[in-house]
């Protein structure tokens, strides 16, 4: 019982509601939902890093790595979603583990930019590799699920279900993790690394653990995205602008709550979709404008709106 708090309950209700909604949702909405889940998971990793005081402008590296790893496995004839997503997650995490040894030594803007530099190297490698379709990328066949091979709309329905279950589990574990000693050390490292060292723990190790985690979930997001879209290409998967979008979502969401990242991702998707629909020439203007508005007027992200509403609701009660 001591693990259950309102966030856990809220997440579970949302999970069950979406699970149910999966069978009734408009197709395009499910698709937007699927993307929001994928991007939201990446933002979840960034949230964990951000709580440690670090922002990465290069997580498209892990997103792209996970996506391409899953997509390349389909070229080798593997189509099971469980295997593909697991593999994509794992290789991205492995890469994060290796690069983490270098990156954990850096802070602030240097950390942010080093990440970006590494992501640009991956971008360059993909663009140069003709076997992977260079800038065109290549398409990914619809996955199977432990032998079940859905067709038509069922592909998306099943994939949504699949993604939903895993994202739910990941989000829940992140939420619980943040309450553990290691999770709490995020705050400690952000606030004062020297004290952490002199309390007897390595700040770099804390950062490394969080970095690997963020790499894992970014790889997960990438693999899901590759399967959901049925296509990988470097501009949408590994370019620096993609990393920028992830940071955008993180800031949009705020670091208040794990659930916020998914709401942030959804809002981002919707802003983009509607900007695209109603202002096809000026969608960047709208996207950039909304981001600016959020930075200026909602410094703690959309979660703060919810908190404020809740406070307002509480006030009149005796």
């Amino acid at each position: 019982m001591r693990y259950i708090d309102k966030t856990v309950v809220g997440l579970t209700i949302a999970f069950l509601a979406l699970l149910f909604a999966d069978f009734f949702m408009a197709e395009w909405m499910r698709f937007i939902g699927l993307q929001s889940l994928a991007r939201g998971t990446v933002a979840l990793g960034l949230l964990v890093l951000w709580r440690t005081g670090l922002v990465s402008f290069g997580h498209a590296l892990y997103f792209g790595f996970g996506a391409y790893a899953a997509a390349m496995l389909t070229l080798l004839g593997y189509h099971d979603a469980f295997f593909l997503v697991f593999a994509g997650t794992l290789v991205a995490g492995l890469l994060a583990f290796l690069l983490g040894f270098l990156l954990r030594r850096y802070r602030a803007i240097f950390f942010a930019l080093l990440n970006m530099a590494f992501s640009m190297i991956l971008y360059g490698v993909i663009v140069k590799t003709e076997a992977l379709g260079s800038t065109d990328g290549f398409s990914v066949l619809a996955p199977t699920f432990l032998g079940y091979a859905p067709e038509g709309e069922a592909v998306q329905t099943t994939l949504f279900l699949f993604t939903l279950v895993f994202t739910y589990l990941i989000t829940l574990s992140v939420h619980l993790y943040l309450k553990t000693t290691l999770g709490g050390m995020s705050m400690a490292v952000r606030e004062n690394e020297i004290r952490v060292e002199y309390l007897g723990y390595s700040a770099e190790k804390v950062i490394h653990v969080k970095y690997v985690f963020s790499g894992l979930v970014a790889g997960f997001g990438g693999a899901i995205m590759a399967l959901a879209i049925g296509q990988v290409d470097p501009d949408s998967m590994a370019n620096w602008t993609v990393s920028g979008e992830f940071v955008f979502i993180t800031i949009l969401s705020g670091i208040g709550n794990v659930a916020a990242t998914f709401i942030g991702a959804l809002v981002f998707e919707l802003i983009r979709t509607y900007a695209f629909e109603y202002a096809p020439q000026f969608w960047q203007f709208i996207l950039g404008g909304s981001l600016l508005a959020i930075i200026m007027f909602l410094p703690d992200g959309i979660w703060s709106v919810l908190s404020r509403l809740r406070k307002a609701e509480k006030a009149p009660s005796p």
């Binding site: 001591r2 693990y3 993790y177 309450k179 553990t180 000693t181 290691l182 999770g183 709490g184 050390m185 705050m187 400690a188 606030e191 004062n192 020297i194 004290r195 952490v196 060292e197 002199y198 309390l199 007897g200 723990y201 390595s202």
Partner: protein, 262 residues
């Protein structure tokens, strides 16, 4: 009395500047030692080297019979040497309780245990009793950045003491504290540390404090230890008087007795 810390021929230079030279010190269990010296004499450098923050250029540091040269601060901390800081190093935007909760959690958990919840009732109990021991319980829920300087110093030291270290090194515990508060603060600290029989080394500028709480003095001058003697002896040492205490140091000896005006 057994030796807990042995420092031999310790040297440290920053480029051409020699910050520590030929330092030889032996510390016994349960000793309370005062480290004195003018600014830049090498006191903090000494503490930094013993706690692993700085690597000596040469020399040996042995703690409880094993060399700690090259170990990072966290490992030395785990072996049993903790420290506090001249400028308190606390988690500024967290409450006093959460600061200590984190300190306890890091001290108590390793490996998989790190993934158990940060908060549990037993740990909270220990934190609260620690708060009482350092007499900062009334600030339990205050954010560290809002604390008065003295309280923040106490918090810093309390965090350092969480592990019940064998040796605790305090870097100027009374700096920035008003004259009226100093003794009260030191009483709290010393009473708290006496419970665990902690060996204490502390850097101090105020000779009254030194004389009152310390049995032995290490005096630094230009990176060297110019005097290592029981307090009363050190206070009359000509080197100490010339280079550390200075001619302007006047006071009447009222409490501890001993020699007259300096």
């Amino acid at each position: 009395m057994s030796v807990v810390l042995e420092v031999r021929d310790l040297q440290r230079s920053f480029g051409a500047v020699i910050a520590a030279k030929d330092i030889n010190v032996t510390v016994n269990e349960h000793e309370i030692i005062g480290i004195i010296g003018a600014n830049g004499a090498g006191k903090t450098t000494f503490v930094n080297m013993v706690t692993g923050y700085l690597k000596p250029t040469s020399g040996q540091i042995e703690f409880a019979g094993r060399s700690v040269i090259g170990l990072p601060p966290r490992e030395i901390t785990r072996l049993g040497i903790s420290r506090s800081f001249q400028v308190p190093q606390v988690f500024m935007s967290e409450s006093v309780f959460d600061n200590l909760l984190m300190a306890y959690a890091i001290a108590e958990e390793t490996g998989v245990g790190l993934l158990s919840p940060l908060y549990n009732d037993e740990r909270a109990e220990r934190v609260d009793s620690h708060l009482r021991r350092y007499q900062i319980a009334e600030y339990r829920n205050a954010m560290a950045s809002t604390l008065p300087q003295g309280t923040r110093k106490l918090l810093d030291i309390a965090m350092a003491a969480v592990r019940k270290p064998t040796i605790l090194m305090l870097d100027e515990p009374t700096s920035g504290i008003s004259v009226e508060e100093k003794f009260g603060l030191m009483d709290i600290i010393m009473d708290a540390l006496r419970v665990d029989d902690t060996t204490v080394l502390f850097i101090e500028h105020d000779m009254e404090i030194v004389e009152r709480y310390v049995s032995r003095v290490l005096a630094f001058y230009q990176g060297e230890v110019i005097c290592d003697a029981p307090t009363a002896e050190a206070m009359v040492d000509p080197g100490v008087r010339e280079f550390v205490i200075g001619e302007e140091y006047h006071r009447t000896r009222t409490e501890t007795g001993g020699s007259e005006h300096a």
